[in-house]
Symmetry: C2
Subunit: 434 residues, 2 copies
C-alpha cells in the first residue's frame, strides 16, 4: 500500500467498507467524555468515524473513587464503547494504543493498525503528574483508570489485613495510616470515603486492630481545599472532613514519597498507603504532533479548538489548553470536555456539509457549576450563585451522578447500591486483587 | 518463644486475647463452602476459631463462569470473609497463604504468621489439573478463583477486539474460535455462555467481523457430557448446546495446547482462546501432612473425616477422599463440602464438650441432586428421581443459585442483573483488565 513503509509496520486499514463511495474519515482518539460527545455529534454526518481507545470501555471517572473505596464495582461505572455506539452505523470502535501521529501522511499509528484521517479529534485526556518525580507513581498511585481504582482498593483493604496480623505496634500504626495527596475534589472524596471505610464499614470486622483509630491524612500544598470552589464551601468541606476524623493539612507540600511514608512540610509521616490526587499532565498528544503546549502538556488550541498550523486537527478536554471569555483557562472537568466534544463534532459536520462559517465557529464554554462530595450525607455544590451544602448537596450530587451514568442498568444498580450502603453502611465490592 | 526457630521465621501468634482463660484453638484452612460451614458450626462452642484464606473473600464458585462471561461482576459472587463473621466473636479471620504444617509442634505455617492449633480443619479445596502438562496452564486457564474469571473474561473480549482489526482471514478465524476443554458442568456452562456472548450480546457491536459466526467448541474425552448426570439430561444438554451453535466433540481427548490452538483426537484446531474445565487436583494439603492420598491428591480420610494417625486433624471438601455408603466416592460439589464442614464443626464442638461419642460420629452424605445450566432458558436438574429440563430447569437453577448466594444485597443485585440480561440480552460487566 505504501512502498516506504517497513514490512513490520502495522497494516494500513482505511474505510469501513471499501466498496461504498468515499466519505471523509474522522478519527477520534480517546473515548472519554469529550470523545464520546464528538462521536455522537457526528452520528448523522456523511463521514466514517473511527473511535480509538486503549480500553474497551468508557470510564465514568467522577465515580472512580467509589470503586477505589469498595462502594461500587468497576462494571457499575464503566460501559463498553461498542455497546454505546451499537446503533451508530457510521462509527467503528478500535481498541488500540496510539503510538504516534504522522502529520505528513495524515495517519494515526497505533500498536495494532494505522488509521488514515481527514479530520482528527484528539481527546486522549490527562494522566497523573508527579512534578518530575515519576518514581513516586509506584508508591502513590493516582486515580484515572479502572485498574487504578481496583489497585488502590486492593492496597487499602490489604493494609488492614496486614495490620491485623502485625505484632509490632509501629508497623501496625504505619499500616493503618493513609495519606491522600492533593486537596481537589478527588482528594477530598477519597479522604472522606477512606474515613467511612475505616470508621464504619470495617468497624467490627477485625479482632486485634480497631480500624476506627486509623489515621487518614489529606495533604494540600495550597492554602485551602477545593481551590476551584468558593471559600465558604472549602471551609465546609474541611470542617466536615475533620468531623469525620480526617487530618487536613493545608499549606504543606509533599517533598518525598517512599513505600513506607511521605515527607510533607519538612515532616516525615510513616504511612503504608499513599494516594496521589495532586497533579495531572496531558497525554503525549502535543509531542506526537510537535504542537505548541502549556506547562501541563496541553495543546494550545485556537478559538475553534483546532490545532494551529494543522488542517482538520482538533484537541479537546484535558488535552487542550484554551482561555475562556472570562480570561480564565477552561477547567479540566467532564462538562467542559463534553461541550468541547460536541462543538468539534458539529464543526466537522458543518465542514463536511460545506458550511465553512459553521465549521470554524469559536467555542464558548458554559460553566454550570462545581460539585464535590465529602462523604455520607455531605457534599458541596455551587451552581452559579447557588451554594448547596450537607445533605441537600449530597442528594443533589447523588442524583446528578446517577443521571449522567451511561445506561439504565448502571443507573439502577448504582442507585440501589448507594441506597443499600446508605442504610447498611456496608460496601459490597470489598475485593483484593479482583 | 521457640529456640529452634530461625529469626526469619514469622512470629508465632496464638490466642485471640491472651488474658482470657485458655480455650481450644481451632484452625480452619480455606474459606470455601466447607470452611465457612465448619466455622459457623463452631459459633457457640467455647473455642477460638482462626479462619485462614489467601483471599479476603469467599467466592461462590458455581457462578464464576458468569463473571468469566461478563454477566456478573466479581463483587456479585464474592463476599468479604470478615463481613460474614462480623458477629461471630470466637472467630478471627487471617488473610495469609499456608506454606506448610508442622505436625510435631502442631503449627500451621503461613507467609505471615504461625498458627498453633489443637484442632485443624483442612478445607483448602482443589485447583486445576493439567494431567502433568502444567505448561498448558498459561494458555488454557481454568476457573477456580475470581482472578481466573476476570482473566478469562478479558481474553474472550480481547479476542473479538483483535479480530476486528485483523486483516488476515486466517488470523481472524483463529481469534474467533473458542475451545472449552472438559464436558462437566463448568465446561457446559462456559461453552453455552460464550455462545450467548458471541451470538447475542456482541451480535451488532462489530463492523468488520460478525461475532455470530464464531466457533465455540466443547471437547470432552469421555463418551458424553455431564457424566455425573443421567443419560437423558446429558443428551438434552448436548442437543441444547448444538442448537446454540456449539460444536460438541465427545470421545476426543486433548493431547496438546499452545497459544494458538489445540490438538484433540489427533486433529489440530487453531484457536486463540482456550479454557480449561477438564480436571482438578487437590491442594497440597496431603503433602503438608505427609498423609495418604488418592490419585487426585485428596487426603484419604476416616469415616468421621479425620486424617488417620493424627489427633484432631480433619480434611473436608475437595481436599478429602471418602467413599459414601453407596460405595461411590463423595462428589466434589458445594453441597458435599458444606455437609462435611458442618459435620466436622459439630464433631469438634462435641469433643470440646466432652461428648466423645458425638466427637467421632461417621459422616453420612446426603445427595440432593445435580444441576447444570446450558444457557438462557435451558438447564438440567436432577433431584432424586425428578429430572427437570429447559425453562423449568433454568428457573429452578436460577432460584437455587440466587438462594444460596451470601448476602441479601448480592441476591438482589444478581437477581436484578439476570432479569435485566434476560430481557435485554446484554451483559453489564464487559471489562478487559479490570
Amino acid at each position: 500500500m505504501n512502498a516506504s513503509r517497513g514490512t513490520d509496520d502495522p497494516p494500513i486499514v482505511g474505510a469501513v467498507s471499501p466498496e461504498i463511495p468515499y466519505r471523509p474519515r474522522v478519527v477520534i482518539l480517546g473515548a472519554g467524555f469529550g470523545g464520546l460527545e464528538a462521536a455522537k455529534a457526528l452520528a448523522d454526518a456523511p463521514v466514517e468515524v473511527t473511535l480509538v481507545d486503549r480500553q474497551n470501555h468508557h470510564c465514568f471517572q467522577p465515580l472512580l473513587y467509589q470503586v477505589a473505596t469498595a462502594a461500587l464495582s468497576p462494571a457499575d461505572i464503566a460501559w463498553p464503547i461498542r455497546a454505546i455506539f451499537r446503533d451508530q452505523a457510521n462509527l467503528r470502535a478500535v481498541m488500540a494504543s496510539v503510538t504516534g501521529i504522522d502529520r505528513e501522511r495524515r495517519h494515526v499509528v497505533t500498536d495494532r493498525i494505522v488509521l488514515p484521517f481527514d479530520h482528527l479529534i484528539i481527546a486522549t485526556g490527562a494522566t497523573h503528574s508527579y512534578f518530575g518525580h515519576d518514581e513516586w507513581a509506584a508508591v502513590a498511585p493516582g486515580l484515572k483508570r479502572v485498574e487504578d481504582a481496583t489497585r488502590i482498593r486492593g492496597r487499602i483493604l490489604a493494609a488492614f489485613e496486614k495490620a491485623e496480623v502485625a505484632t509490632d505496634p509501629e508497623t501496625r500504626r504505619r499500616l493503618t495510616t493513609f495519606v491522600v495527596i492533593g486537596g481537589g475534589p478527588t482528594g477530598v472524596e477519597m479522604a472522606g470515603a477512606i474515613a467511612e471505610v475505616a470508621r464504619q464499614t470495617l468497624r467490627r470486622d477485625f479482632r486485634r486492630i480497631d480500624p476506627a483509630v486509623s489515621r487518614i491524612v489529606l495533604v494540600e500544598a495550597g492554602p485551602r481545599l477545593l481551590p476551584a470552589l468558593p471559600e465558604d464551601l472549602s471551609t465546609y468541606a474541611e470542617d466536615s472532613l475533620r468531623r469525620m476524623g480526617v487530618e487536613v493539612r493545608t499549606g504543606s507540600a509533599v517533598t518525598a514519597c517512599d513505600p513506607h511514608g511521605v515527607v510533607m512540610g519538612g515532616e516525615r509521616l510513616d504511612a503504608e498507603t499513599l494516594i496521589w490526587a495532586a497533579g495531572v499532565t496531558a497525554s503525549p498528544a502535543a509531542r506526537w504532533l510537535g504542537a505548541a503546549h502549556d506547562r501541563a502538556g496541553r495543546i494550545t488550541v485556537g478559538p475553534d479548538l483546532s490545532v494551529p498550523g494543522m488542517i482538520g486537527v482538533y484537541a479537546i478536554g484535558d488535552t487542550a489548553h484554551l482561555t475562556g471569555q472570562d480570561g480564565k483557562p477552561i477547567p479540566g472537568i467532564a462538562p467542559a470536555a463534553k461541550q468541547m466534544g460536541r462543538h468539534v463534532g458539529r464543526s466537522i459536520a458543518a465542514r463536511v456539509a460545506g458550511d465553512t462559517a459553521g465549521a470554524s465557529r469559536p467555542f464558548h464554554y458554559r460553566h454550570h457549576g462545581d460539585l464535590a462530595t465529602v462523604g455520607r450525607r455531605a457534599a458541596v455544590v455551587r451552581i452559579v450563585r447557588l451554594h448547596l451544602k450537607g445533605f441537600v448537596g449530597w442528594l443533589f450530587w447523588s442524583l446528578a451522578h446517577v443521571w449522567y451514568l451511561i445506561g439504565a442498568r448502571n443507573r439502577i444498580v448504582v442507585a440501589f447500591t448507594w441506597l443499600w450502603s446508605y442504610l447498611t453502611f456496608q460496601r459490597g465490592a470489598r475485593l483484593i486483587n479482583s
